[in-house]
């Protein structure tokens, strides 16, 4: 647990970078420091591991005043990742990852094992990469190693300053997904700096929105989107805040059972009767193993001899982990306007429709917050 109480930072030149900043990050929580450039996010974060000395106030980690600790010892107990990655160019990937274990004088074999474990965790093959140098890695791989390095000695707390900053949007999204997956396993207490509202919504359990050194609003992402405290928050979150709320969900959080699932061998006449009775415009066709094959529309059923011949194959399908904003753009490409959710063996899991999404957005708009905060990954 990290607790900041009335923290103030005034730089020697008189810049008031952080003003009366109080906040608590609970154990296992990922807290985003969000705000426009120069609002004091980095300064606030660096005061936690004392890289920047605070002017006044108190910072506690698990109830212990950080000023009472030896700064180097303190830092070895806190994972640290910076925006520019800062990998040591003269050391191999392995030596980079084991920087803190080395400082803590772990035995060599344990360091090696840890490096292998962490590389695997961030999705890199130890055989290939342990002996490489940073200059021999792609930008995305460097960021992964940066994340692995901050986990080096398995610290309970991580400070991350735009860890996925210098990278293209696609790789960035992938790294975010992977990191959330890792976090769901390791449950670290994390202070995470970003100026990207979308990243904040996607990653954060809590968001601390800052303006000119002050904490303006500290809430979970859904509350921030739905109940902006003032004009500044409303503007920062953006006019499309309702749409942004889509990022709070993944397909699996809101998908529904298909209204009607029919099998390849079913009799078209019977299917037609059934659809007429239930007033369905479409149904979903699967084979004997529940593999999704395509859509059946009521209109086509009239003259059909078999279901397979009138089936409309899906233009797109989606995985259960897909964020809702992405799923929705896919739906515009789907012939039926609906989206089948399938697992990696193409088993049909559920379906997304515009109605379902409208329901979700409607609820958000009316301020019903009970449905918020779908699981983060």
């Amino acid at each position: 647990m990290i607790k900041l109480k009335y923290v103030i930072k005034i730089y020697p030149d008189g810049t008031e970078a952080v003003k009366d900043f109080s906040l608590e990050i609970k154990k296992g929580e990922l807290c985003i420091f969000l705000g426009p450039s120069g609002c004091g996010k980095t300064t606030s974060m660096k005061m936690i591991n004392r890289l920047i000395p605070m002017t006044s106030g108190k910072i506690y980690i698990d109830g212990v005043d950080v000023m009472k600790l030896n700064p180097n010892e303190l830092r070895r107990g806190i994972g640290y990742a910076i925006q520019n990655i800062g990998l040591f160019p003269h050391l191999t990937v392995e030596e980079n990852i084991t920087t803190v274990p080395m400082l803590k004088k772990w035995p060599k074999t344990r360091q090696r094992a840890r490096a292998e474990e962490l590389l695997k965790l961030v999705g890199m093959d130890p055989q290939t990469f342990l002996e490489r140098y940073p200059s021999e890695l792609s930008g995305g791989q460097q960021q992964r190693v940066g994340v692995a390095r901050c986990l080096g000695a398995d610290p309970p707390i991580l400070l991350m300053d735009e860890p996925f900053g210098a990278i293209d949007p696609i790789t960035r999204g992938k790294l975010q997904d992977e990191f959330l997956k890792i976090q769901s396993k390791i449950k670290k207490t994390i202070a995470f700096v970003t100026h990207d509202i979308n990243e904040a919504i996607k990653m954060g359990d809590k968001i601390a929105l800052m303006q000119e050194g002050k904490l303006v609003q500290f809430n979970d992402p859904a509350t921030l989107l739905n109940s902006p405290k003032n004009e500044f928050v409303r503007n920062f979150v953006g006019a499309d805040r309702v749409l942004k709320g889509l990022r709070l969900y993944r397909a699996r959080d809101i998908m529904q059972e298909p209204p009607l699932k029919v099998k390849v061998g079913d009799n078209p006449v019977k299917v037609r009767d059934r659809m007429k009775r239930d007033m369905l415009k479409w149904s979903m066709l699967v084979d004997g193993q529940n593999h999704f094959l395509g859509w059946i529309t009521y209109a086509d059923l009239e003259k059909a001899k078999s279901l397979r011949e009138i089936m409309v194959p899906p233009a797109v399908t989606t995985a259960p982990e897909t964020l809702l904003n992405e799923a929705m753009s896919m739906m515009f490409n789907s012939a039926i306007g609906n989206l089948a959710v399938i697992d990696d063996q193409e088993h049909l899991l559920g379906v997304l429709t515009f109605d379902i999404i409208r329901n979700i957005l409607g609820k958000e708009n009316s301020g019903n917050q009970k449905r918020f905060g779908g699981s983060k990954q």
Partner: protein
Amino acid sequence: MRKYIILGLLLGILLGLTIWMTSLGSVGIFKMAPPMKVLSATVRHLQIVEAAELLAITIGIPIGFLSTRRACRFISPVLIGTANVGQTVPTLAFIGIAGAVLGMGYKAAVIALLVYAMLPIIRNTYAGIRSVDPALKAAVKEAARGMGMSMLQVTAKVEMRLAMPIILAGIRTSMVVNVGTAAIAGMIGSGGLGELIVTGIAVRVTQLILQGAAPTAALAIILDALIGGVETWVTPRGLKALKSAQWQQ
């Protein structure tokens, strides 16, 4: 590969020349130095170079390092300026002055050599530390501090390591210069191969001069190659790539 063949050839010629001159026995009324004398002169030569070089490294690197610190920013231009200007003073003048001020002999020679050898080391240490891309350096130092390295560890494990290739290049230069300067130090009675050369010059016998000069040149080549080898060996692949990337810019 061609480089090594040429080097090997040159070395062969120089050593052959030395053996040939020594085998002459005498030229006219002048006796050539006997083989044992050549050998002991070579050892003496190495001793002078080694003593001066080790001292130059232990003094030069800290001076070069300190001149990059912000606290020293007022005296560092003077230091680095002196180091640069110092190198333009001809070695002969340098040795002459040392002999005049410190008297003749081994000690005076080592001190003269040490001062002279220190200059490229100071200069390269300074340049090496300063040449690391500031953005890279800031990021790397911040990461190092943030992970709990002490100031000393940041200096030793990060800053100096990044500057290492250029510092080593400085040591290599100073070593080669040193071998040559040590020959000139023969003038102030330091012993070593310079003594043979100086004697040869005094009596105007080319063979005698060659007997001292050829092994001196061979020594310079061998030491240069040796440190070059060390340089490649201790420079990690990651830094080589970084260096070549900087060259390309």
